[in-house]
Amino acid sequence: MLRKLVGLLGASLALLALISCKPGSPEEKNTYKAHGAGAELSASEYNNMPPLQQYQVANRLLSALFRGVPAKEFFDPNTFTSGKEADLRVDPDHVEYIQQIKEKLGSHLENRDVIYTKVVGDTTVQPTIPGLYQFSSDERTPMELPLAYMYELPLSDEYFARWIAYNLMNTILFSPAEEIDSAGPEDARAVFDRLSEGIRNKATIRSLIYQHEISLQNWRRFRSPEDNTREMIEIYLGLFDRDADVPKAAKACKNWSLTDEDQGYLLLHPEAANNTEPQQILDHYWVTTCEDVMDTIANHPLVIPRMANVIVDHLFDANYDPQKKAKFVNSIVGAHPQTFSELYALILFSKEFLTSVERPKFIEESLFNVAGRVYWTPTSTFFRDLAGTSGTGGNLSTNMLVMNQPAMSLKLGRWASVPLDSQGFSYYHRALRDVVMLRRKTTYDNPYDGNYMGWGAELIGESVETVSGDAFINYLFISVIGRPATDGELAELNNIITTATANGGTGSKVFDPAPTSGNGIIQKRRDTALVVLDYLSRLPELYFYDAVN
């Protein structure tokens, strides 16, 4: 007992040391800040950037958040007339854009239930409210709903909490492992709800880890005392060489077990069978029960650095320079984030992430960013097709599974590098090309054509409807990839548009060289946009975060 007390005292002192360093929470005075490698991109640094770079930075941030801002909204729309980068001006409403996003992510959302009803509908009221989106089945809904709901939510604390939960569940940290026999979509729902609610309510990282460790969902993922304790030590502490601790930790959890499938994979831990023999783990912590083990891990000094490491891996790429990463993580940890909101905010708004990190984008980061930038609208089945299973009729063009990027599914989470194997990437490319970039609404002049998804007049009409051909192409380039076309690109695209002839060159011109009717002009503008967007879908840079400089 004495040894246990000494161990607990040691752990308490370590925790106290951490707490005593806490400079204050962001909710109180927004005073937590990282210095050095993890320093925030300051307002002055951002404002001193040329307008196009500001747009690139804004869209990098929004892309990470599965959003995008159209060029016509970010810039003064009249500045596209010349088609020259030098003439671009940021819209006066967006001169503090990064700070505006940060404030939105901290702002309370009042009507989340109304939006939820809008997404899923309500059949309990009269007249019934049809939902905007269809899901595969009640059973699969938890896998498909999070992205649909986030898509409809405005940037807010609610959105940020859900986005963080979704991200965490795609890492090894909180994956519900829906792919394995003993777990299922309901487990994904439970983890998502617990995390998102906890994050929104400012629960600490440590408390959320502890809640998760002792949850049914965690034990459905790691199903025996030895398996579970080994994984908790590895996952939350990053210690992969503590094999000798595992039998001792497992002994403390000896009365925890999972029933079989016939009994519904229930978690049993009868108190009467609690271990009574203290065990020493992780060098100087004494534990007796399974709760002791999980509490020790959740309050271990390595937890926050480990969280920062894993999240940085996912946001920066596992192949990011290890020395730079170590400095960055140290800097972030030095700001003493206590909640996941604080931790993610430190990383997302850092100068390093917003201007320097180069990596491929996950499908959500590119698809929703491009979608936002071209005013694209999903069909009612889009999220079902995106996050459903290929075996249940999911649309293979947009299914994340066939891109090898399934969400909330893999037992060990997604790799911290975007899978770019030839086949997975081909599906990824087709999702962007076929479903977003070449999907236009059937009624050009009705941006809210409810029958078909796609982009419409908002993208190619209004203020850019009458700009010259080259200016229009440049506008589309800036809108989608954040840069104007090169001279070579302009020349070749114009060559294609002006010479294209049907039937292997024996038919009529594809593009009317001088349309005179209203419809003819509109059609040429629309078809030009499709060719340009098709070209942009073939550029590797569309699928990457490039450094902003």
Partner: protein, 508 residues
């Protein structure tokens, strides 16, 4: 020589930058990429020539690596210690697992396989010299029980996670040493294929391969995501340019390729995928037949594959038979569920092993006879028949074995010793099938969880990393341990190939 220098030489030999004639002739990269001098290339060749002993094999095999993620128990292929295991286990095994098949429907076969877990099939396949079972794949140097660490070491064939995967290393060796891989006018077609998406086996490490040698991925239905579906006003028959001789769609591709060339290294995987897209589109349509129905039509009647894993394996075998250029196909046992049997293990494990073995038997049946031709509705041949193959090896293993104690959740926790199931390739020199290699004993304290089997003192055993070395030896490397030597201080001499001549315990 230091590993770093050796790797550097191997990297130069494998590098895109060394083979501008090959790639520029194919129009795959711009000559601007060719910056390594002929002298550097020659020096690198000399380095590798001095380090890697190589003899061009009479036949280049095709190897299908089936990886059992999660860490499979060895018990399907090894019940030789089951009485002792049961006597000391925290929870008892079913009674029929303790009886011979000759005794009231027991589960223990003549060679101590688990009958209902593919054991009966294994008896048949070993007797028919289609298979060898190694029972003592055992970690000594680094007894890690962590999934990630173990997957890496097993799939790269070494302990340093920075090393390239075994597929990438093999590609670089062949590029450096085998004449078929140096023929700039006729490179092998799709030599490295993944049917599981990205895999550690193709980790790049410090080796940059020329495009034709980089892995491509296919799925079990030979679906063709490489074909773009939606068209713009420029449909596939539109021509462009001053003379209207250029296909407009191809002009867009060329423009994108040229624009990206400046950043080709940064975007390398995506550039590869785009560059490979049209080639793969054509290959899938012309060599494999597009879609699952075409696969079914080409598989002989007596090769009965079942379930999702069966579809994966069937596609891999069909690819191997359709394209002898394919050197390595990586495949997981996806569709069977994982092998991480921490709870309620026995029933599910046995069924999965049975499915695995019945599909592997189907694979051997399929390889033993020509494939059917594929015809269209009018009887016109779309894809020709492919001949039987006796030079296809299928290896099946995981990252580690499991404990043998049945824990509180009636499962097995992470262990060490495991099996390697290896099939086919009896037309290759040095291949020894029809064997059962390795003897084990139970280790650990009675009534406690950490009980496992271990090779007996007189048994042959090898490290999981040796499986990669054997892969290199199939393709002609005489000193495969060189590929992992000096990578880690724990194993400075590296890991050698499996000794296929080790004593067999098989009782016919």
């Amino acid at each position: 020589m230091k590993r770093r220098d050796f790797n550097k030489a191997l990297a130069i030999l494998g590098s895109t930058l060394t083979v501008p004639p090959l790639l520029t002739k194919k129009g795959l990269i711009s000559p601007a990429g060719a910056t390594v001098s002929a002298r550097a290339y020659a020096e690198a060749r000399a380095v590798v020539a001095g380090e890697v002993d190589y003899a061009v094999p009479a036949k280049l095999p095709t190897v299908i690596n089936v990886f059992m993620y999660g860490g499979p128990s060895e018990l399907a292929g090894n019940l030789s210690n089951i009485a002792d295991i049961n006597a000391n286990s925290q929870n008892k095994y079913p009674a029929d697992m303790l009886r011979a098949t000759t005794n009231n429907n027991g589960q223990i076969t003549k060679n101590n396989f688990w009958a209902a877990a593919g054991g009966t099939i294994m008896e048949t396949m070993i007797a028919a010299q289609q298979m060898t079972l190694y029972r003592t794949v055992n970690r000594i140097v680094d007894d890690s029980k962590a999934h990630r660490t173990s997957i890496f070491s097993t799939q790269i064939g070494g302990l340093n996670e920075e090393m390239p995967g075994m597929g990438t290393t093999l590609a670089a060796i062949l590029r450096a040493k085998h004449p078929d891989y140096q023929d700039v006018d006729n490179p092998p077609l799709l030599p490295f294929v993944s049917m599981e998406g990205e895999t550690v086996m193709y980790n790049i490490g410090d080796i940059s391969l020329p495009l034709p040698l980089r892995p491509v991925s296919l799925d079990n239905n030979f679906n063709n995501p490489y074909k773009r579906i939606r068209q713009t006003a420029l449909n596939t028959t539109s021509n462009c340019g001053a003379n209207l001789t250029d296909n407009c769609d191809q002009l867009l591709d060329t423009l994108a390729k040229n624009t990206s060339a400046t950043f080709a290294e940064k975007y390398s995987k995506v550039v590869d995928a785009f560059n490979k897209r049209s080639e793969l589109d054509l290959f899938v349509r012309q060599n494999l037949g597009e879609g699952g129905a075409s696969i079914t039509a080409r598989v002989p009647n007596n090769a009965e594959f079942t379930g999702s894993f069966g579809n994966n394996l069937k596609a891999a075998v069909l690819l191997a038979m359709s394209n002898p250029d394919t050197a390595l196909i990586t495949l997981s046992t996806g569709g069977l569920g994982g092998w991480d049997n921490h709870d309620n293990a026995i029933t599910g494990y046995a069924a999965r092993m049975q499915n695995l073995m019945s599909n592997l038997q189907a694979a051997m049946n399929m390889l033993a006879q020509p494939t059917n031709t594929l015809t269209d509705a009018n009887g016109n041949v779309i894809v020709n028949s492919s001949p039987a193959r006796n030079d296809v090896i299928i290896n099946c293993w995981g990252e580690f074995g499991r404990n043998v104690n049945l824990n509180a959740s009636m499962g097995w926790d992470h262990g060490n010793n495991m099996n390697l199931y290896t099939f086919g390739g009896n037309g290759l020199g040095g291949r020894q099938l029809g064997k059962l290699v390795g003897k084990t004993e139970r280790i650990g304290t009675s009534g406690q969880n950490r009980q496992f089997t271990s090779p007996t003192g007189d048994s042959y055993q090898f490290e999981p990393m040796c499986i990669a070395s054997s892969l290199y030896s199939y393709f002609g490397v005489l000193n495969p341990e060189r590929m992992s030597a000096n990578e880690d201080t724990r194993a400075p001499a590296g890991f050698g190939a499996i000794n296929e001549g080790a004593a067999s315990e098989f009782v016919p």
